[in-house]
């Protein structure tokens, strides 16, 4: 995999969607999710550009540590945990499809450990779990990597859209109670952006 490329595409997508993510967050939170994510990934790109990592795992760890120290808010420690867990699960060898499916498994578990969100709580977990499951299913079916990642990204987008009717039970949005219904969760939306960027940055030829 090409972590640098993934991160660059993510940074580009986040910069482009920054205002939309801010607006989604303004509806049910404090309006900063786009700014937080864009700031974090800009820092990540700079950090990775500065020092080439030895391995995907090392690069992923740098991503996680950088997000932890630059994103802030709820998203910082959650995405930080996610990337640090991906790093941990890919330490033994450069990831292929099967390794990556396990890694995403571990990453989702790390996010849930930190944030204690269950499916249906209207958080990024609602994009992550379908993405994880779709990836696993595609890999089990022996689908090519690019196809599996695309299916995973599709599922994340679907999951993000499916947060609209949910009532938030975690994070800032939960303060709104019923008023949180009818809005798409910004964190689930950024998760889908990241997974779409991954699908665009990694296929067999680059794997």
């Amino acid at each position: 995999m090409d972590v640098s490329e993934w991160v660059r595409r993510s940074a580009g997508a986040l910069e482009q969607e920054r205002d939309r993510l801010n607006r989604l967050d303004a509806d049910i939170g404090d309006g900063d999710h786009g700014a937080n994510m864009a700031r974090g990934f800009t820092a990540v790109v700079a950090r990775l550009d500065g020092a080439a990592a030895d391995s995907s795992s090392a690069a992923l760890r740098t991503v996680g540590m950088t997000l932890l120290s630059t994103v802030g808010g709820a998203a910082g420690p959650l995405y930080g945990s996610l990337f640090i867990a991906l790093a941990g699960a890919t330490r033994a060898r450069e990831p292929d499809a099967a390794v990556w499916a396990d890694a995403l498994d571990a990453a989702v578990a790390a996010v849930q450990r930190r944030g204690k969100a269950e499916p249906g709580d209207k958080t990024m977990v609602d994009a992550l779990i379908p993405a994880r499951d779709a990836l696993r299913a595609a890999v089990d079916d022996g689908k090519p990597l690019a196809e599996a990642l695309a299916a995973s990204a599709d599922a994340a987008e679907e999951g993000a859209r499916a947060t609209i009717p949910l009532l938030a039970r975690k994070g800032r949005a939960s303060y709104l109670g019923e008023r949180s219904i009818g809005h798409q969760d910004p964190g689930a939306t950024s998760t889908a952006l990241l997974l779409r960027a991954l699908a665009g940055s990694w296929d067999e030829t680059t794997a």
Partner: protein, 333 residues
């Protein structure tokens, strides 16, 4: 957006440079990672008191760093939790060997960043206890939400825990006092106008000229209800009722009454508010033994107020009266 700033992204950094220039004699400002510490930190043998949160609530927290209150404050971006690397460095900067108390306002972001920092600090050998502040009665406390928000009581927890630490109490004792203050304090706020986050550039919410938001959070989060503007006395009654009935505060209780400005409300109005608070509490048979009136935990330039009541006992009164020497709160020194 009309603000006295240069670059919206540089506000916090430039303000910290201003703090360093103005108060270099009493504060040590670190920029990367960002924290504001007592110049004499770490104080050997004393429990270190660390607080932090998004910027934009000034003087909270940096204005409360000094003898008798905080040892260090970690400022995040405006209205955004600071990050674990700041908290870790700040913890180590004030760890005088007796451990460090983290005072955490109950917001998902703050909680998770502080949890991460506490794990990192423990791994590097600092003893850390964390105390959550969650005093806002505007928000339902239920297992189905992130729980109540930390608002006005944060100032009181910082003062009283700081005084206990200064007395040489142990980390467990200081943490117990901080938790007691949080348990015995209740707050509620309201806004007349919104505020504008510099890096957002437009108001966080819209309020019509004849509307106010009751139960507002310190980041401009929507509150309980949006209602027609009312006279100050009626507003105070609206804020006090849920506060009084929640703990509950009862006739005969001794309290500290804290009338806080959200930033854009002139002091003269805060005293109009305090006048009514004193009237109502006296009618209810409560005794205001201590009070605090002013802009202490703000939401940038938001106009509005919050009221915090803390049930007092002899120990808390003594800790409140203990010397404090910070830029924003100072007595007995």
């Amino acid at each position: 957006m009309k603000k006295l700033i240069n670059d919206p992204e540089a506000v916090v950094r430039e303000a910290l440079e201003g703090v360093a220039a103005a108060h270099g004699d009493r504060l040590r400002v670190s920029h990367d990672p960002a924290f504001v510490a007592r110049a004499d930190a770490p104080v050997s043998g004393k429990v270190g008191i660390l607080s932090g949160g998004g910027s934009g609530h000034e003087p909270l927290h940096g204005g409360f760093v000094g003898r008798g209150m905080l040892d260090v404050a970690c400022p995040g971006a405006v209205f955004t939790s600071p990050t674990p690397d700041q908290m870790l460095a700040a913890t180590q900067a004030v760890d005088g060997g007796a451990g460090v108390l983290h005072i955490v306002k109950n917001y998902t972001g703050d909680v998770m960043n502080f949890e991460t920092a506490a794990e990192l600090a423990a791994a590097e050998g600092s003893e850390v206890e964390s105390v959550l502040v969650d005093d806002d009665v505007a928000v339902q406390d239920s297992t189905y939400t992130a729980g109540r928000r930390g608002v006005g009581a944060t100032v009181l927890v910082e003062k009283l825990a700081g005084a206990a630490a200064e007395e040489g109490r142990s980390l467990a004792e200081v943490a117990a006092i901080a938790r007691r203050v949080d348990e015995q304090a209740r707050s509620m706020g309201m806004a007349l106008t919104s505020c504008t986050v510099p890096h957002v550039g437009s108001p966080t919410f819209e309020l019509a000229d004849d509307e106010m938001e009751i139960g507002i959070g310190i980041h401009g989060e929507p509150g309980r209800e949006r209602v027609r503007l009312e006279p100050a006395d009626a507003i105070v009654d609206r804020l006090l009722e849920p506060i009084l009935s929640d703990l509950p505060f009862n006739s005969g209780d001794r309290v500290l009454a804290f009338v806080n400005g959200m930033g854009g409300t002139p002091l003269i109005e805060l005293y109009v508010v305090y006048r009514r608070v004193a009237q109502v509490l006296s009618e209810r048979g409560l005794t205001i033994e201590r009070n605090l009136v002013g802009n202490f935990i703000t939401s940038l330039e938001m106009a509005g107020t919050s009221i915090t009541l803390l049930k007092l006992d002899d120990e808390l009164v003594r800790l409140w009266d203990a010397p404090v020497d910070t830029t924003a709160l100072r007595w007995g020194v």
